[in-house]
Amino acid sequence: MSAFFTVTKKELQDHFNSWRFLVLLFVMIAAIVYVFLAVGVIRSNSSSGTQFIFLSLFTTQAISTTSSLIPSSFMSLMATLLPIAAIILGLDAINSERNGGTLGRLVSQPIYRDNIINAKFLAGIITLAVVILTTVLLSAGLGLKMLGVAPGAEEILRLIVFVMVAIVYSAFWLGLAILFSTLFKQVAVSSIISIAVWLFFVFFYPIIFQMIANGMTAATQADAIHNANSLILLSRLSPIQLFNENMAVILVPVTRSSSQLLQLITTDAGNYFVANPLSLGQSIISIWPQLIITILLTTVCFAISYVKFMFEEIRAI
């Protein structure tokens, strides 16, 4: 076993044994409660025969709310809470070791310096993957038992894709938290900034977005299309929005495109499209750009932390 796996193992033990895991547990329980509620809603709407009834466990509005700030379905709950789970795991990754005086001891062991940060990132991703997979499996099991409907092969495949996309999405937030923990010396500062970024995208960004959208006027149809395009671009600056779009396409197979403009046309301007489900391959193709951008953002966050950590004067440690 190399030093890299030793560090990964230790970080994993830390994650699973600390108070952080309670937060992860809370996310899991909340998600399962949402699925439980969704079963009730699906049962009462039994008349609307959907093809993908099992997937609708994860997308059905489980809580009726008028506020866009409260997650209404399993899907949007994941979009809101997964970032917190990831931030919790990474917010003091580097600076707590620096402040605790353990980093100096660690870097003087026969281990490459990048092994330390790589192992921390990997351990975080493994923990998140375990949490996401467990949540989905438990939810699916509960749904299976309560609905009495077994998932089809395509539904299972789509759930697997969902799990993978969710892991990539939370890896971005983990990367962001680790980045702040390398940039800022104080754990309090790095934690607050990580949480602030999350709060901004969850609460303030939608409000700002709404204000801009309300302020737009269009005289001609061309203007309207132009405005709609700018709005889509603007909304996609938020990683949460990117994830939401991805999820909508993956878990609701009839979604043609993640582009709201196209959705607007399909619903408003008559039935140009037949509401036939897309094949999984087509669904993946339509979210490909969003997925790549999320991976890119994660890589950028991680790369900056990596470079900062590698070339930092050890003196500061």
């Binding site: 076993m1 030093a3 030793t6 560090v7 230790k10 830390d14 600390s18 605790g100 005086g101 353990t102 100096g104 001891r105 660690l106 870097v107 003087s108 062991q109 026969p110 281990i111 490459y112 004067e313 050890i314 003196r315 440690i317």
Partner: protein, 308 residues
């Protein structure tokens, strides 16, 4: 064999030269005291030797390995206790050491045995399964020494190992360091800004100031070179009588005696320990402790500190 060698080692931060053309040679098996005021460049030198900081110019080698390029090999044979040493406070002492063992490629039963022995050697056996959060500063420092023992390096760097520890704890730690060096045939480089601590255990000393090595050599040779051989012998007696004092005063070469309870500080022209102990035993006196202190070294060091 030379354990540590630096050649024209220089480190600059911007326009400030922290370590200036340092040429240092340390033999295997020595306990080397790195003496100097705060900011003299001691820590930076240690970090460059360990390969944790890149020198601006010059080379540093440990056991013939280049510290800057063979970093991993160097880190395998060199242990390091940073000045602000820390442990994972929510984990037990034994687990912290086990982690070090694993990082050094020691696993399972072998690791358990080595950790147990190390904790035993530093007197923390009963605390093995306690969280480090409950440890005092002195205990943490002893745990750091156990950490070095787990790694079993050929050479260990101790950066100000006695900062913030009470006098009894300091003695305990210094003696422990001397003991492990002897038992494991380990070369030790200890930095400190307190001469008395260096003198207690170090065979050789290097005095550093403003990035330069001012003076280097064995403690005896240094005091002879600079102080004309004037030395102070500290004697602790079980009982001090006037008769004993007079007898010591009459030994040829004794210049002055200062008495504090049963502790005498005898200033002499040369090392008169043999003669003095003979006189004391002739008068049926009992010696608890006797050690050589050099006045001269204190003088040079104080001059440097004041000049800084």
């Amino acid at each position: 064999m030379l354990m540590v060698e630096t050649s024209k080692l220089t480190k600059k931060y911007g326009n400030t030269t922290v370590v200036d053309n340092l040429n240092l040679k340390i033999e295997e098996g020595q306990i080397f005291g790195f003496l100097g005021p705060n900011g003299a460049g001691k820590t930076t030198t240690i970090l460059m030797l360990l390969g944790l900081t890149t020198p601006t110019s010059g080379t540093a080698t440990i056991g013939g390995l280049d510290s800057t390029h063979d970093t991993l090999k160097v880190k395998r044979i060199a242990g390091y206790i940073p000045e602000k040493v820390g442990f994972y406070t929510d984990l037990s002492a034994a687990y912290n050491l086990l982690y070090t063992a694993n990082l050094n490629g020691i696993f399972d039963k072998k690791a358990d045995a080595i950790v147990e022995k190390a904790l035993n050697d530093v007197g923390l056996k009963d605390k093995a399964n306690e969280q480090v959060a409950h440890f005092s500063k002195g205990m943490k420092q002893r745990l750091a020494i156990a950490d070095i023992l787990v790694k079993q390096p050929k050479i260990a760097f101790l950066d100000e190992p006695t900062t913030g520890i009470d006098p009894a704890g300091i003695t305990q730690i210094l003696d422990l360091v001397a003991q492990i060096a002897k038992d494991n045939n380990m070369t030790i480089i200890m930095s400190s800004h307190q001469l008395s601590q260096i003198q207690r255990i170090c065979s050789h000393v290097g005095i550093m100031n403003k990035g330069k090595l001012i003076s280097e050599g064995s403690i005896e040779s240094l005091s002879k070179k600079t102080g004309g051989g004037k030395v102070v012998i500290e004697i602790q007696l079980v009982e001090t009588t006037k008769e004993l004092l007079d007898a010591i005063r009459n030994v040829a070469g004794v210049i002055n005696i200062e008495r504090n309870e049963n502790t005498l500080s005898v200033t002499c022209n040369e090392d008169l320990r043999k003669q003095i102990s003979k006189v004391i035993s002739d008068k049926n006196g009992l010696i608890t402790q006797m050690k050589l202190q050099s006045y001269a070294l204190e003088d040079i060091y104080m001059k440097i500190v004041k000049g800084a």
